[in-house]
Structures are given as C-alpha cells and as structure tokens.
C-alpha cells in the first residue's frame, strides 16, 4: 500500500495527474490517509509550493461548503418548525390592535377633553388677534397663492419631441429623445445622478457628454420621495472618468450664497448663475433650497455648485408663476442616496465634505473642469 501510494505521488509529480491529486488532497484534509501516507503527503506538500497552495485552497473551499451545508440544513429544519406554528392566530393576537386605541381613549377621555378645549381656546384667541391685524388679509391671500403655486410647480423636463417634430416632421419620431434633462457623474466608473422625474416611466435612457457621445444607461437606484435617481452607464465604449473635480457639500448653504449650475436646456451646456434665496423649497419644503437662477426645461437634474466647487444640490424644478424661483434638492439627500447603494460598486466616488479641486479658481476655469462630468439625459418613451 505504502509503495503504491508513493507511486501515485511520483506519478503526480511527473505527470501532474490532477484528478488523483485532488482525491488525495481531499482524503488528506478529511483525515482518511494512513499515518505513512499522511507523512509522505506532508513531505510532498513541503517540497511543492503548487501542491501546498492547492491544499490550502481546497481547505477553504471545503470549509465554506460545510458551512453552506450546515446553514442549508438548518434552514430546512427551521422551515419545518415554522410550518408547525399557527402564525395567523398568533399574529392576530400580537398585532397592534385597534381596540387598544379605543381603550386609550376611554382611559384618558378627560385629559383629551382638556387638551382639546385648550386648543380651541388658543385658536379663538389667535383668530381674534389676527382679525385685529391689518396684515392678516394679505397673509391669507398669500397662502392661497401658495396653494395654487403648489399645483403649478413645473418639472423642468424638456419636451424635445414637441419642438423638433415641428422642425423635422419627416423624421421617424421613435428615434428621437422625448424628454431631456441633465445629470452629473458621482463616481469615476459611470454612475450618474439626476432627478427621478426626468427618468420616470422611461423605456430607455441615454446620456450624452459635452462632446456629443451618447451612452446607454440603466436605472440603478430610484428615490421618488427626494426626486433622486442614479443611473449606470452600461456601454463598452465608455472609459472611466478622471477624478471628479467637485465634492459634495457637508452642511447646508446659507441665504445669499453665490451658486451656479450647468445644464442642457439646449444641445450645448448652459451656465446659470445666481444665489440661494431661501432655505426651503415650495410651500416650506425643507428637502429643497430655493435659488434665484433662471432655468429652463432641460435643467432638471443639473448640479448646483457654490463658489468653491462644492455641490450643494440638484436642480429639480421651478415655480412657473414667478421668475427666478428655482428649486434644488439639498446635498444631504444626495449623500443619503449614495449611502443607500452598495459602496463597492462606486469606484473613485465623489468626496463628501472635503476640499474640492475647484476651490479658488475663476468661474470659467471651474466650468471648464466640470463640463466633462455633466451629461445630457435623453429619455425615450414609446408610449
């Protein structure tokens, strides 16, 4: 047996008989070899780096396999145990019951009544103060306006089709982008952030850089609540971007801060310049800033940067009754979106709260550096 084993080992060394070697490694790791075989194999392992490496790799693999088998078995057994439990009955007992609310009301009826009468009293006195004040009338009018404004907030999506169809009515309209917006890179490997409303309901989305090259993108992450969408460029012709020149601003911007944006309201990039005019968006929406920058359809999704080249927000809409009231999602929510996606998929991602490369540069230099990272979003929709 000993000599036979030695022969096998010799044949392995000579002919690299991998199948036999694998079998021996497995027996070795499972402790199935006789002491003599074990010693002979250890000898081989010491002498041959490649064999040693294979042993280590197989050991890791066997351990992972054993762990996998264990958990699989445990899961099967737990499913069996789960089937024994009457979950529905249990759930109906444990669920937060509406009757508890009723009980709470019954027990605390007097306290609630006192609280209610306080509120009533406060409202009556507030009302009498207001009616004594002359400005109350204008305030009411304003709030009505606000209600109307809310319903008329425009999403700045450019309806390319409607314009270009008039110009070239002969063209096949299916090949033309229906809507356009703006987006910007958040990592070197082709992740683009834009507004959710730009890409909502899209059949296919392309991005186009400032040199006019289009790439196909897929939707990677959507956050309708904050109006943020992250797209990924899936195109072999896409080369990695150099390091991103801008950083995301930590903390909020103050009123009066100078800001600018780049966007694609037409086929070339357009700079918009202005200042933060309010820390809240439409109707006191704390998710957004109001900025005084004239924007046009197609600016949606563009980056809003401060003088130091930090991104303070994403342009997402304007109020169509007032000039120069544009809204932008705050940078905090960009970070939240970034943190919600798997971190290892972003390589060379945009930095947060660090000094950007644009600090101290003149505006034209800043735009020069940024425009390679700002993309036109082209949305195709067959409906």
């Amino acid at each position: 047996m000993f000599t036979a084993f030695e022969e096998i080992i010799l044949s392995i060394m000579k002919m690299r008989n991998d199948i036999e070697l694998e079998a021996i490694i497995e027996d070795y790791l499972k402790g199935k070899l006789t002491p003599e075989e074990h010693a002979a194999f250890e000898q081989l392992r010491n002498n041959d780096q490649i064999v040693d490496h294979k042993v280590v790799a197989h050991k890791v693999f066997l351990e992972s396999m054993a762990q996998y088998a264990n958990i699989l078995q445990l899961k099967e057994r737990m499913d069996a145990a789960h089937a024994q439990i009457d979950v529905e009955t249990l759930a109906s007992e444990l669920r937060p019951h509406p009757s508890k609310l009723v009980k709470l009301w019954k027990n605390n009826r007097s306290a609630v009544a006192i609280a209610a009468s306080f509120i009533l009293l406060t409202m009556v006195s507030l009302y009498s103060i207001q009616s004594n004040n002359k400005q109350a009338g204008t305030f009411e009018a304003m709030s009505k306006d606000m209600a109307r404004i809310k319903t008329t907030q425009n999403s700045l999506i450019r309806d390319i089709k409607s314009r270009e169809a008039n110009k070239n009515s002969n063209n096949n309209s299916n090949n033309r982008a229906r809507f356009g917006g703006t987006g910007f890179a958040i990592s070197g490997n082709g992740y683009i952030i834009t507004n959710y409303h730009v890409v909502r309901g899209a059949d296919s989305v392309y991005v186009q850089n400032n040199k006019g090259v289009s790439y196909k993108v897929t939707s990677f992450y959507n956050d309708p609540q904050n109006d943020i969408a992250i797209l990924k460029i899936n195109d072999e012709s896409f080369h990695r971007l150099p390091n991103l020149p801008y950083a995301i601003k930590k903390g909020s911007s103050s009123i009066g801060e100078q800001v600018f944006t780049l966007g694609f309201p037409k086929d070339d990039v357009v700079l918009g310049d202005g200042y933060v005019s309010s820390k809240t968006g439409i109707n006191g929406d704390t998710l957004a800033y109001q900025v005084a920058i004239p924007v046009n359809p197609g600016n949606s999704g563009g980056p809003l940067l401060d003088n130091n080249g930090n991104i303070v927000g994403i342009i997402n809409g304007k109020e169509n009754k007032t000039d120069g009231a544009t809204f932008a999602v705050k940078s905090k929510y960009i970070m939240e979106a970034l943190n919600a996606i798997p971190q290892d998929s972003l390589s060379r991602r945009v930095t947060y709260g660090k000094r950007s490369q644009l600090q101290g540069l003149k505006r034209n230099k800043q735009v020069d550096k940024i425009q390679d990272f700002v993309f036109m979003i082209k949305v195709y929709n067959n409906n």
Binding site: I71, A81, L94, R95
Partner: protein, 188 residues
C-alpha cells in the same frame, strides 16, 4: 395550536447542548418558544409575518454559528440575545427600505450584538457566494456536487444514480465539476 411562552420554553442549557448535538427536537422547541416574541416585535414595527419569519430565522442562524464557533458564554438569557439580534437585523432592513426607524417599539431588554452581526454578514456573504456558484454550475454537476458534499453520498451511489459505467468516469466527472465550481466560487 397556540403557544404559551411560559409552558414550552426549553432551558438555555438544553438549547445550547441541542445546538452542539445538532438535535432536531431542540431546534423545534427553540423555534416555537421565541417566535411569538419576534413576531410581536416585527408586527408592531412596520413588518408582516413573512418579515418576522426571515428575521427570526436569520437570528437563529447567528445563534447557531456563535454556539458552534465555541465562543458562546451564557452571560445573558438566550431570549434576550435572540431578541437583540432580531431587533438589530430588523432595524437594518428598515433602514434599507428607508422606512422610519427612530422610534422602534421595544418589548424586551437589549444587548449590544453588533460584532456578532458583522461576523454573520461575512458568513452570509460566503453562503450567498456558494449558492450562486452552485446555481450557475448547471446540471448534472450541481446534483453530483450536492450529493457528494452536502448529502454525503458515496462515489459508488453517485456512479449508480447517474448511470456511469465505471467509478473512474464518475470520479473524472466529479473532478471536472469541482474545478468549475471552485473557479466560480473563488472568482465571485
């Protein structure tokens, strides 16, 4: 079948020994004993029955791994441990779903279990890797490998089951499958 928490609860020692002996009975008892607790936690915090099942099973896997790795000390009640792990897992899932998490309604004491969960996530990753590798392996390789490594069938059984004419053919086939699986597993 309604389960009263007090009557059918196994002692913590029983459970730990049961885990070490891989006893089905101990698992069944453990499972039935604390499921209502986790169900209550999840139902009262924006979850449903299926969420409760997932979270609870994951928590039990964490417990099993910890006990089997040998560094489990009964410094707290098992119930508290399972509750804390389940709570942590659920909080994490809630954050991923971007639901409100600031005021979770608690029903038990809580331990700090972050380290255990970090280890668990590592292992979970390995589990998923192996699962994906096996699934992309295709037939008959998947079944051969599963029969050999998971169900511990002998090469002889596999040879007969797949109708290989001799044991060498089966061995060669298994070797080829294994090489492909290892490649898939280590490269993913």
């Amino acid at each position: 079948m309604s389960i009263k928490l007090s009557s059918s609860v196994p002692t913590d020692r029983e459970v730990v020994l049961g885990i070490l002996n891989n006893s089905i009975e101990a698992l069944n008892k453990l499972y039935a004993a604390y499921f209502p607790m986790v169900l209550q936690l999840i139902l009262n915090n924006n979850g449903d029955e299926d969420d409760a099942k997932d979270v609870y099973q994951e928590a039990i896997i964490v417990l099993y791994n910890k006990v089997r790795s040998g560094n489990f000390e009964l410094s707290s009640k098992l119930k508290t441990y399972l509750y804390s792990v389940s709570r942590r897992i659920w909080l994490k899932k809630l954050t991923q779903q971007r639901k409100k998490t600031n005021n979770i309604a608690d029903f038990e004491d809580i331990l700090v279990v972050e380290d255990d969960l970090e280890q668990h996530e590592q292992k979970d990753l390995q589990f998923d890797k192996m699962k994906i590798a096996l699934e992309s392996l295709g037939e008959p390789c998947k079944t051969i490998i599963e029969d050999f490594y998971i169900h511990n069938h002998s090469m002889q059984d596999i040879c007969e089951k797949f109708g290989y004419t001799n044991a060498d053919n089966a061995k060669t086939q298994k070797y080829k499958c294994l090489q492909r699986l290892k490649k898939l597993f280590f490269q993913s």
